[in-house]
C-alpha cells in the first residue's frame, strides 16, 4: 500500500531543514531513516503533508565522545553504534540495545534520534535513554535547548519537539569504570515489537554499594517508563538477591501494558519484573561483583 501523497523537501543543512519546518509547521514531518515513519505512512497511520528529508544533512551524521558524553547526531544510524568500538568498550547498556533494535537491515537505515522522536511505546532507545539519563538537543529558530529525556518523552508518539524545531543530537553520559548496564528484551521474532523490555545501569562503588542506578521498562505503558521506586531502593544499598528481587517487584508494580497477540497484561507485567531482575544480575556480573549474597 502506498502512502497518501505528500510534498518532499530535501534539506542539505540544519538551517535548511529548520527553514522548511518553520514554513510548513504542523503539516511537516522530519524524515530521517524512515524505518518507522514510512510503514506508518503506508498503513495511513501517519499522513504528513510535507516531508523534510534530513538524510542529506552531512553535519548531522556523527558519533563522538566529547565533554563526558557520547554525542549521537540525528543522522547516525543504529548500525554505527553497533560497530562503534567506544560503545562496545564503555556503553554496555547501549551496546546491548544496538544489537537488538529491529533487524540488522533496518538498523543500517534507522537512526537513534529518529527512534527517540518517534517515541513508540515499544521502542528500544527511549528505555535505554531513561536508564542512561540522556539529554536531547533540540534546535529551533532561537537556538539550542537541551531537554532531559524524562521531559522529552511526553506521551505515545509525542515528544517535546515543537513545531518548527529539529532534534539534532542525543547525549548519553559516559559511564565510568565502575559503571555498567544491561538491556533485556523479549520479542516473538527478530524485528517484532518488544513483548517486554528493560534497561538497567548502575555504578558499584569501591565500598560495594550502588550509586546512580537507572532503571526503565518498555512496552509497559504509553511510553518508556522510569522505575523511580526501584532506583530509590538501589541507591546506596549493597547488592543482594533480596534487593534485586525487591527492585524487580517495583517494575512489575508500575508496569501498565496493553494486552495484544504478544501476551496478556498479567504476563507482560510479570515479564517487566523478570527482565529488570535479569538486567540487575547481568550488570552486577559485568562489574565483577562476585557471588550475590
Amino acid at each position: 500500500m502506498f502512502p497518501a501523497a505528500f510534498s518532499y523537501l530535501s534539506a542539505h543543512s540544519i538551517d535548511e531543514a529548520l527553514a522548511s519546518l518553520l514554513e510548513h509547521g504542523a503539516d511537516a514531518r522530519v524524515l530521517a531513516g524512515g524505518q518507522s515513519l514510512i510503514p506508518a505512512m503506508r498503513f495511513r497511520l501517519a499522513r504528513p503533508g510535507v516531508l523534510v528529508d534530513i538524510n542529506p544533512v552531512g553535519e548531522l551524521n556523527y558519533l563522538r565522545e566529547e565533554g563526558g558524553v557520547l554525542a549521537i547526531g540525528a543522522g547516525a544510524r543504529d548500525a554505527a553504534l553497533e560497530r562503534s568500538a567506544a560503545v562496545a568498550a564503555r556503553y554496555h547498556l547501549m551496546s546491548d540495545a544496538a544489537a537488538v533494535v529491529a533487524d540488522p537491515v533496518v538498523r543500517q537505515m534507522g537512526t537513534v534520534v529518529g527512534s527517540l522522536c518517534h517515541n513508540d511505546p515499544a521502542g528500544d532507545w527511549g528505555v535505554v535513554a531513561l536508564a542512561s539519563r540522556a539529554e536531547i538537543v533540540v534546535r529551533g529558530k532561537s537556538g539550542n535547548r537541551v531537554v532531559p529525556i524524562d521531559d522529552f518523552l511526553v506521551d505515545s508518539y509525542t515528544t517535546a519537539v515543537a513545531e518548527g524545531e529539529l532534534a539534532v543530537e542525543a547525549r548519553f553520559p559516559t559511564p565510568g569504570e565502575r559503571t555498567s548496564g544491561s538491556y533485556q528484551k523479549i520479542e516473538r521474532k527478530v524485528g517484532d515489537f518488544a513483548t517486554a523490555a528493560a534497561a538497567v545501569q548502575f555504578t558499584l562503588r569501591a565500598d560495594g554499594t550502588i550509586a546512580d542506578a537507572g532503571i526503565a521498562i518498555g512496552a509497559a505503558g504509553p511510553k518508556a517508563t522510569r522505575v523511580a521506586a526501584a532506583e530509590a531502593l538501589l541507591a546506596g544499598a549493597r547488592p543482594s538477591k533480596e534487593l534485586f528481587r525487591a527492585a524487580a517487584a517495583e517494575a512489575e508494580k508500575i508496569s501498565d501494558p496493553i494486552a495484544d497477540t504478544r501476551g496478556d497484561v498479567e504476563f507482560k507485567r510479570a515479564m517487566a519484573g523478570v527482565l529488570v531482575h535479569r538486567g540487575l544480575v547481568a550488570t552486577f556480573e559485568r562489574l565483577g561483583g562476585g557471588v550475590l549474597a
Binding site: Y8, L31, G34, I38, P39, L51, R83, D103, P104, V190
Partner: protein, 160 residues
Amino acid sequence: MKIRVTVNGTPYERDVEPRTLLAYFLREQCGLTGTHVGCDSSSCGVCVVVLDGERAVKSCTMFAVMADGHEIMTVEGLADGATLHPLQQAFWDCHGLQCGYCTPGMLMTSVVLLKNNPNPSEHEIREALAGNLCRCTGYQNIVKSVQQAATELSKVPVEA
C-alpha cells in the same frame, strides 16, 4: 519530481511521485524486476538492495526520491556477464534456494555482510540474515552458501 539514480552503474533519470517507493521505482520505472516485493511492510527482506555500496536497505521502506543522486545495486548488478558473482555461484552450488523468492534479498544482504566482515562465523551469518525470511530452505543451505562465498571471496587473486 525528477530524480537521477545510478542503478548497477547505469544512470536512470525518471519522473516520480514523492510517495513512490524505491522497490516499485526499480521494478516499474527501471524495469529491474529482480528486486522482489514480499510483505511490503519492512518485515521480510526480499526487497533488499545495496545503497552506495555500503548499506543493505529494504527498498519497500525507502522513497525513490531519497535515492536521488545515489548509487543502488540490485541483484541484476551482481553477475559479470555470464559469470555469476561468488555469492550467486555459492547459492547455486549449495542449493541455497528452493522457490527463489527471497534469494535477491538474501544475496544483497550478504554482499554487505561480507564487505564488512569477510570471514563471518556461522552465528554472525545467521544474525546478519535475521531480517530476511525464507519459507522454504530452513536456512541451513543459505548459511552454507554464504560460508562458501566468503571462502571464495577471500582468496587473493594470483597475478599472472
